[in-house]
């Protein structure tokens, strides 16, 4: 819902000769306050419930168990590797979308954004059809190089990169569009090639945007569940990331699931704190 504009009224005011005095009402109308508070409670209560139900007495042993560390380590390593993949492939892609005017650019941008809105499990099925041992690309990987990706840690990284890359591309592209292009042009007039200008001028200019995009992508990769379990399966230490461990633990040992969830919650809060000055300084 767009806020009402005061244009017609402003026009009417000028006709009447100057704005009318209106009493400024402070205070929040009840019809807004009630849904607002409900919405706030809806978002916060589940997290509080997680803290309330945490088995604090057994938490230390839960968190020091080998399984938890195995899953956490795999999660951190694969999310970081996925972010690296996103950076290597995503930043140039974002640059292409922001700086090169080619036909069909809008369509390409839409396609790049698609994994962002695609249900992750669909992404997993799509990856399986493409890169599985029997997939349209995967069968050649298997035949020529003997590489099979499903059920491997590399498969986890691919699944995570697939869902996380759009975050990075969109974030970096937005920064590029907002960046002042005159610096690049100045570099060009001073004889720098386009690549040199990108490396020495553009990259430092958009570094904060890249960092924010990378953190977002990393957080998204860390929480990836659907695509991972579909494409990479579930094997402790190899493909069982934290979200998979949480899901399977919930079926047999809810306390362990809560403890694992708490770790992920802490990581998420840390990410948010890291992005604080970009996202929460609007107030």
């Amino acid at each position: 819902m767009t806020p009402p504009t005061d244009k017609p009224r402003a026009a009417a005011d000028t006709l009447r000769g100057g704005p009318r005095r209106r009493r400024v009402r402070t205070g929040v109308p009840l019809p807004l306050l009630i849904p607002a508070l409900t919405g706030l409670a809806f978002l916060i209560v589940p997290l509080i419930a997680l803290l309330v139900r945490t088995p604090w007495h057994s938490l230390p042993e839960q968190l020091t168990s080998a399984d938890v560390w195995q899953a956490l380590r795999l999660s951190l390593v694969s999310a970081t590797a996925a972010t690296a993949v996103c950076l290597v492939l995503g930043v140039p892609l974002a640059w292409l979308l922001a700086r090169v005017d080619f036909p069909g650019r809008g369509l390409v941008r839409a396609l790049v954004t698609l994994p962002l809105v695609l249900p992750p499990v669909v992404g997993g099925v799509a990856l399986l059809m493409a890169l599985g041992r029997n997939g349209i690309v995967g069968q050649w990987l298997d035949a020529w190089f003997g590489i099979t990706l499903p059920f491997t840690t590399a498969g986890v990284v691919i699944a995570e990169a697939f869902v996380a890359m759009p975050f990075l591309v969109i974030s970096v592209e937005g920064t590029l569009r907002a960046a002042d292009r005159r610096y690049e042009e100045a570099a060009a007039t001073l004889g720098a090639s386009r690549f040199t200008a990108f490396r020495r001028v553009t990259l430092p200019l958009i570094a904060p945007g890249i960092a924010a995009g990378a953190v977002l992508a990393w957080a998204r990769a860390l929480g990836e569940f659907g695509a991972t379990i579909t494409f990479a399966g579930n094997f402790p230490g190899r493909t069982q990331t934290m979200p998979l461990a949480v899901y399977l633990a919930l079926q047999s040992d809810p306390e362990a699931a809560i403890a694992l969830s708490l770790v992920l919650l802490a990581v998420s809060i840390a990410v948010l704190a890291g992005l604080r000055d970009r996202w929460m300084s609007a107030g």
Binding site: M1, P4, P29, P31, L32, I34, P35, A36, T38, G39, F42, L128, G132, R133, N134, T148, P150, F151, I229, A232, G233, N234, F235, P236, T239, Y247, L248, L250, Q251, S252, P254
Partner: protein
């Protein structure tokens, strides 16, 4: 429309949107006893309303058939199924999911529900199921025994140990003293089978009934150790069943000669 009216309507719209959101949220959580019609007081035994059945993934084909039969025999009823790993089903029942009937693939998972006091009466075993190896069509890896699965270079998937088919597979492996490292522990038996159907894995240890249900997409290899790990399937009425009468009738159908015929046809063993 005058300006004053418009100014009043906006907050109301906001309130309406808020109310709709609230309703939508509460609708998600309502267990909806109103969704199942009450049995009529005349006691004529005419059933109606919805029966919600939580059943192990391996029962998918046979129960779907039985559900259709039930609806045909009792017009006005509707059988809704939720198939999945017995463990996650048990967890959602103890977590308060609204269901009438629970059919699980192992006494252990049924025990989770009875221990939580969510079952009504004692569960009964209605079928048994045996394990089989599912291989690619034509069995290119020439798998003929459980031991063949331990060969290097074979991609084998098992069910997760928390799920009955995984526990049974582990039991069979232990009984034969074999160590098998799969490439994945899947969350339920159908997920394990799918990996073979998609040719992503070379073999999976699943139920005989799943191999049969998959038709020619996979090939079944029986193995003698499966006798050490035959799974009993218990079924029970749930205590908070919204539609007790229809639920009891559905359980009766499953246990009747007619129901057993469908189940045997799917490859289940008699209890």
């Amino acid at each position: 429309m005058t300006r004053t009216v418009r100014r009043i309507r906006r907050p109301l719209q906001g309130a309406a949107v808020g109310a709709v959101a609230l309703l939508a949220l509460s609708a998600c959580s309502s267990s909806g006893p109103d969704s199942s019609a009450k049995p009529d007081s005349s006691g004529s035994g005419k059933l109606s309303g919805e029966v919600t059945v939580f059943a192990a993934a391996s029962l998918k084909e046979s129960f779907t058939t039985l559900g259709k039969q039930f609806e045909k025999e009792h017009p006005g009823t509707k059988v809704t199924f939720s198939f999945g790993g017995s463990d996650s089903l048990a967890a959602s029942i103890t977590g308060g999911a609204p269901a009438d009937v629970f059919a699980s693939a192992s006494p252990r998972t049924m025990k989770i529900v009875t221990d939580a006091g969510d079952a009504s009466g004692a569960p009964v075993t209605f079928v048994r199921n045996e394990l089989e190896i599912a291989t690619l069509p034509g069995n290119p890896a020439k798998i003929s025994s459980l031991k063949d699965l331990t060969e290097a270079g074979l991609k084998v998937v098992l069910c997760d140990k928390e799920v009955p088919c995984g526990a049974a597979a582990q039991k069979a492996l232990d009984a034969s003293g074999l160590k098998l490292t799969p490439v994945s522990y899947e969350q339920d038996v159908k997920a394990a089978l799918t990996k073979v159907e998609l040719k992503e894995a070379d073999a999976a240890v699943v139920y005989k009934t799943d191999v049969r249900a998959a038709g020619d997409k996979v090939e079944g290899v029986p193995f003698p150790e499966s006798a050490d790990a035959v799974n009993d399937y218990p079924i029970t009425l749930l205590k908070d069943a919204p539609n007790t009468e229809a639920a009891e009738a559905f359980i009766a159908l499953v246990r009747s000669a007619e129901g057993q015929e469908v189940l045997s046809g799917a490859g289940f063993l008699k209890p």
